[in-house]
């Protein structure tokens, strides 16, 4: 539970900026929806569902993944173990989202801790190399300061949109990963899950 709060804080930071000035980074949100405008002006609604706290039931995480188009793989830059669990999460997400190819974004969080003198256990270079190897995006964020949080979500959204544009994703019946918006014709919705990298606890 402890950990769940920290991770979710990334999420809360993006909820329409409504919590942007909240200084307590432990506040979590397990769901949010918001509109993001991609480069050509199309507005996309991003829905983010947090899988945290539901690991107990196999059927649930599985289902969440299946109805998603991508995942944020979040690790703590000051916690090596959390980074080491990333490949496992990635495989899990990949397996469940199949046959669709998920969009991943590797997110190193709690950058503010490093700035406050906490020892960094995962270097930016290493994470970047890992991301490149798997062909995923990488950002380092701080939910406390809001640094790059917007960026993380924007990157994923843009990537999803690109894949729709080049035909890799089709808006189709039966898959809830992406669907056309109800409210505005031409708009698109998509779901994202946030995968929890670690069960370890730290400050």
């Amino acid at each position: 539970m402890e950990n769940r709060h920290r991770r979710s804080s990334l999420l809360k930071y993006f909820t329409d900026g409504k919590f942007a000035e909240l200084s307590d980074p432990t506040v979590g949100v397990d769901f949010f929806a918001r509109l993001i405008e991609v480069k050509d002006g199309t507005r996309i609604k991003l829905q983010l569902w947090d899988t945290a706290g539901q690991e107990r039931f196999r059927s649930i995480t599985k289902s969440y993944y299946r109805n998603s188009v991508g995942a944020l793989l979040v690790y703590d830059v000051c916690n090596r173990t959390s980074f080491e669990h990333i490949p496992r999460w990635m495989m899990e997400a990949r397996r469940h989202i199949e046959p669709h190819r998920p969009v991943f974004c590797l997110v190193g969080c709690k950058l503010d801790l490093v700035m406050n003198g906490c020892r960094r256990e995962v270097s930016q270079e290493e994470a970047r190399a890992f991301a490149e190897q798997y062909g995923v995006h990488h950002v380092e964020t701080s939910a406390r300061t809001g640094y790059n949080v917007e960026d993380a979500f924007r990157t994923v959204t843009q990537e999803v949109y690109n894949r729709i544009q080049n035909g890799e994703y089709k808006v189709e019946d039966g898959w809830d990963g992406i669907k056309t918006g109800f409210a505005r014709p031409g708009g698109l919705d998509f779901n994202l899950v946030e995968a929890e990298p670690t069960k370890s606890s730290c400050c």
């Binding site: 409504k18 397990d30 039931f57 649930i60 289902s63 299946r66 039966g174």
Partner: protein, 991 residues
């Protein structure tokens, strides 16, 4: 702060510190002044709601007076009041999100209790939001889900009220399950999460409420919902012979899996009462009437109204049942289901559908067995909840019946066990009679096989018939058991293996389900542990072996996955406690199949490089990805009729081969599967595969004794410009780049190793001291990217050393490959050209002689071909000639033309750059591996005929040096890698 407090007593102006009691007081003021939502104050309200959550969370951890104030002023009631005005989604969404964040982040138990204590939360839950707005829906359901995560033995009482009989007693649960079939997947998932979170709270009275008041309506609706998904899935399969809607189908399959996992998650919580109700609904309303009944089309059965009866195709039914048995291990459920499938006979079924379940069930059964819509919608049933007294009675009754049924079940059990032996006998008998007589023979006619094979097959079936006719017991025979009959008949692959694959899956799933008692299974599958030897279901084994035999045919319609599963199942069924129960004639049939698969593969055996590559690639594929039935059953593609074209995107093993190359690959895999089966059944260990024994290879960082080894000094220049000085050592299968060991003179540390068989060598146009070397990754470790292991320029001291290295590499490649080809030949019982000599120079020599007969003009090309390493080298022609003699060979498509091209390219780029003619002789191959042989397998001492000549030797008078020496070629001996010291006797840098 001072200002706001003193002048306005609790804040009309926003205090500077957002985290303070003062700020909350200010927000309270805002709320009380804006109790009516209007266009103008919306923004303000939303911002206020947002801030409230923020302060509360802060207060929860820092200042208890914040919560006191919140409760004192009853601020949640403001929320309610706002909500009750039709205020539009903007405000509603923020409200729900605020609540969501609030409940998710409260850590202090007391704060949580305060928040929940005045029943406002329940009022919010039952509020009718505008659920047509998908965002409101999403936030609402997330809010409920968040609440459910807070449930425990203490908090449950805030949500579930056992005293109050007139309201909806448990709104959190009852409101949520109304959305169990919402069109949005994520909403459905949230509902499922919530229900699971509720069930796992250990509160007896709450669970009683769930069982008595909600379980029946919820489960019956859920089951109906699942059933309709199945029907949709079936329609999708029926209408999609052309594989057009693969994605739709895969989603439907995934959805079914989600359902099953959800049901299994409930069952795994082990709430006995709940499980009973759930199992009953599943069996009576879904699994038996829709899944199991779909296995038979017999009109005389299943008294239900035929027109109305919904069913799915047999294939789909087999597939779905396999999934059920693979996923759900809940004993009472799977036991009953298995019994229905395996034991039901016509009499029982004729007595009426409900009788079927009564026979085997240990669960309540006052419902009819039918896939039919629930009596009323869930919404309605939940509304009627209040009329509690009626329901109470019903519940009591059910409990009564329940008990009675349990007794009858016990009785039934004893009867079952007594009739067991007869049953199993008769199953066998009936099978043999009907099938062998008619179908098999019919089928054998169908197949285009040689007479010999037909005889073989008939022989396989015959002993059975004679044996079986002895004791015929007509009653209770197979044709009397329509469900089992369908499963076993599906194993026939007359036209294709479409249904056979699923029948195998179902049998496998049954055999591996933990919840099924062995007694039920013994009837059909498992060998009896205690009883007489060789007791297994012969008919079943016959049919499985039949599939295996069939797959060795040319143009067989059995997919690889079916074969693999058949072998897997066979091994499981006939091996009990390390003892193979298989009778001799069955073993013989397997051996015959092995022979046949060898023959089949022999047709494809040829000297071309691609064959070796394919052989090794297929081997590693099989090793890397052993069949996992659970995963296979997640793949919706197998639900579509078997196809051959790879354009469907279906994996190779799950479709039929397309084209000659794939037929070769298939033959290779069939060979591997059956070889392994045969080895397992004979209790033998594989000694010949893989072709490269990894433990006999030099690894990077091994320290090697290189005294007396041929070392060629060179500089390696990588693409990025990096230059390193290394010594090149050429082993019999590997190329090794070493660096001198600083501690021991004459020793070296391996810095790089690559297989000779994977190298490509090319000269440099501008620099005669240079070689371009590419070493591909072995196909066996094929990752998706095919970046070469090494691609670099090698600079030698002078031209001669360069040429020597080139020749050595080129030849090393040929030899390494030839060695493996001979290993394969041995596996396939192909006699090699000169027995006991497994070396390429024979071919090279033959090729050379052959060349001499050809006109001179072609000489450069041919010579080049002998030694130039390329993907399709020329010496293969010789090999082909050899194999042609042995069997009618089929050529791999396209290869001849490719070869021509290659050859012409080679002429173009090699002939103008012919180095100066030389007549020097360079003793190239004087390497000897001297090892203390620790072998278990006999060492093959090869009479080695060596042709040492320069690739570009003078066309006028080529000097051929023939040298004899012996070489140890065993691969298996070098187990101890550490101690391994390759001593190579020879000249260092001989020129």
């Amino acid at each position: 702060m001072f200002r706001s407090r003193s002048w306005f007593g609790g804040g009309l102006w926003k205090p500077k510190n957002p985290h303070s009691l003062e700020h909350l007081k200010y927000l309270y003021n805002v709320l009380s002044k804006n109790q009516t939502v209007s266009e103008n104050n919306r923004g303000l309200l939303v911002e206020t709601l947002r801030s409230i959550a923020e302060i509360l969370i802060w207060g929860d951890q820092n200042d208890s007076s914040v919560f006191d104030f919140f409760l004192e002023k009853n601020m949640l009631s403001f929320f309610l009041r706002i909500m009750k005005q039709k205020c539009g989604s903007y405000v509603c969404v923020q409200l729900l999100q605020t609540l969501n964040i609030l409940f998710e982040n409260i850590r202090n138990e007391t704060s949580l209790y305060y928040l929940l204590s005045n029943n406002h939360v329940n009022s919010i839950i039952v509020h009718k939001f505008d659920f047509s707005d998908e965002e409101v829906m999403a936030y609402y359901i997330s809010f409920l889900k968040t609440l459910s995560l807070k449930l425990n033995a203490h908090t449950i009482h805030f949500f579930y009220n056992e005293v109050n009989e007139h309201t909806n007693d448990f709104p959190l649960y009852t409101e949520a399950i109304k959305f169990f079939n919402h069109s949005e997947g994520m909403v459905r998932i949230a509902v499922r999460t919530l229900t699971l979170n509720v069930y796992r709270v250990e509160d007896a009275s709450m669970l009683t409420f769930i069982r008595d008041r909600t379980a029946a309506p919820y489960f019956s609706n859920l089951v109906w919902f699942i059933g309709n998904h199945i029907i949709e899935l079936d329609i999708c399969v029926r209408n999609d012979a052309d594989h057009q809607s693969q994605n739709r189908l895969s989603d439907l399959v995934a959805e079914h899996l989600d359902h099953l996992h959800y049901l299994n998650d409930i069952l795994c919580l082990n709430i006995e009462d709940l499980n009973k109700v759930l199992s009953e609904h599943l069996l009576h309303k879904l699994l038996v009437p829709l899944y199991v009944y779909s296995l038979t089309r017999r009109k005389d059965l299943l008294c239900q109204n035929q027109e109305e009866r919904k069913y799915v195709s047999t294939v789909v039914a087999l597939f779905l049942l396999s999934q059920v048995f693979l996923i759900v291990p809940h004993g009472p459920l799977v036991r009953t289901l298995a019994a229905v499938i395996l034991k039901s006979n016509i009499d029982i079924i004729k007595n009426g559908a409900s009788q079927v379940l009564k026979q085997y069930e240990d669960i309540i059964s006052n419902t009819t067995v039918a896939f039919s819509p629930p009596k009323e919608s869930l919404d309605k049933s939940l509304e009627n909840l209040n009329e509690s007294s009626k329901l109470e009675n019903v519940a009591e009754k059910t409990v009564d019946k329940d008990k009675k049924n349990w007794y009858s079940m016990e009785k039934d059990k004893s009867i079952k066990s007594s009739t067991y032996i007869t049953e199993s006998n008769s199953v066998k008998t009936e099978f043999d009679k009907v099938d062998v007589a008619n179908e098999t023979i019919e089928e054998i006619k169908y197949l285009s096989v040689t007479d010999e094979e037909k005889e073989q097959r008939l022989a396989l079936e015959n002993p059975l018939t004679s044996e079986a006719t002895g004791n015929t017991i007509e009653q209770d025979s197979l044709s009397n058991k329509p469900f089992l009959e369908t499963i076993l008949n599906s194993l026939y692959c007359t036209e294709n293996d479409y249904a056979a694959l699923f029948a195998l899956c179902l049998l496998y799933a049954l055999a591996n389900n933990q919840g099924i008692d062995p007694e039920t299974m013994d009837l059909v599958l498992a060998p009896l542990k205690v009883s007489i030897k060789n007791l297994y279901n012969e008919t079943l084994i016959n049919r499985i072996i039949h599939i295996i035999t069939l797959s060795c045919q040319i143009n067989a319609k059995v997919r690889l996955v079916t074969l693999e599963l058949a072998t897997k199942l066979l091994i499981q069924l006939v091996i009990s406690e390390n003892e193979v129960l298989l009778q001799d004639y069955h073993l013989a049939a397997v051996e015959a199949a092995k022979e046949q698969s060898t023959t089949l593969l022999r047709n494809f055996y040829k000297g071309e490089d691609i064959f070796l590559d394919m052989f090794e690639d297929e081997y590693s594929e099989i090793q890397k990805k052993p069949l996992k039935v659970e995963w296979l059953m997640m793949d919706s593609n197998i639900l579509l009729p078997p196809t051959g074209t790879p354009m469907t995107g279906i994996e190779f093993s799950k479709r039929l081969p397309c084209g000659e190359v794939e037929r070769a690959r298939r033959a290779i895999r069939v060979f591997f599967f059956i070889r392994e089966l045969s080895l397992t059944l004979n209790n033998e260990i594989e000694t010949q595969l893989p072709l490269t024994n990894p433990s006999s290879c030099v690894q990077v960082n091994n320290v090697l004794d290189l005294n007396n080894s041929d070392l060629i000094a060179c500089r390696v220049v990588w693409k990025d410009g990096q230059k390193i000085k290394r010594f090149l050592v050429i082993d019999c299968i590997q190329l090794i780049l070493v660096e001198p060991d600083t501690r021991k003179l004459g020793w070296g540390v391996a810095k790089f190793v690559g297989f000779l068989q994977d190298i490509e060598v090319a000269g440099d146009k501008d620099d005669s001291r240079c070689l371009h070397l590419t070493i591909h990754k072995p196909l066996s470790c094929s990752t998706s990217n095919r970046i070469p292991l090494l691609s670099a320029k090698f600079i030698f001291e002078d031209h001669i050393r360069c040429m020597a290295a080139k020749q050595r590499l080129t030849k090393g490649r040929i030899k390494a490959r030839q060695k493996k080809m001979n290993q394969i030949a041995r596996l396939l019982d192909i006699p090699t050209a000169t027995p006991h000599c497994s070396t390429p120079p024979n071919y090279a020599l033959m090729g050379f002689r052959n060349d001499r007969m050809v006109g001179r003009g072609q000489r450069p090309k041919d010579q080049q071909r002998m030694f130039t390493v390329n993907k399709v080298p020329g010496f293969a022609a010789q090999m082909r000639r050899d194999s042609l003699i042995k069997s009618g060979t089929k050529r791999l498509e396209g290869s001849p033309s490719v070869k021509c091209q290659e050859a012409s390219i080679r002429i173009r780029d090699s002939s103008p750059k012919m180095p100066r003619p030389r007549s020097e002789e360079i003793p190239l191959e004087d390497m000897r591996l001297r090892k203390s042989s620790l072998t278990t397998t006999p060492v093959c001492v090869a009479e080695h005929v060596e042709v040492g000549t320069l690739a570009a030797s003078s066309p006028e008078e080529p000097e051929i040096l023939i040298r004899k020496y012996s070489e140890e070629t065993s691969f298996t001996e070098r187990q101890n890698n550490e101690t391994r010291v390759s001593r190579r006797k020879g000249k260092v840098e001989t020129v």
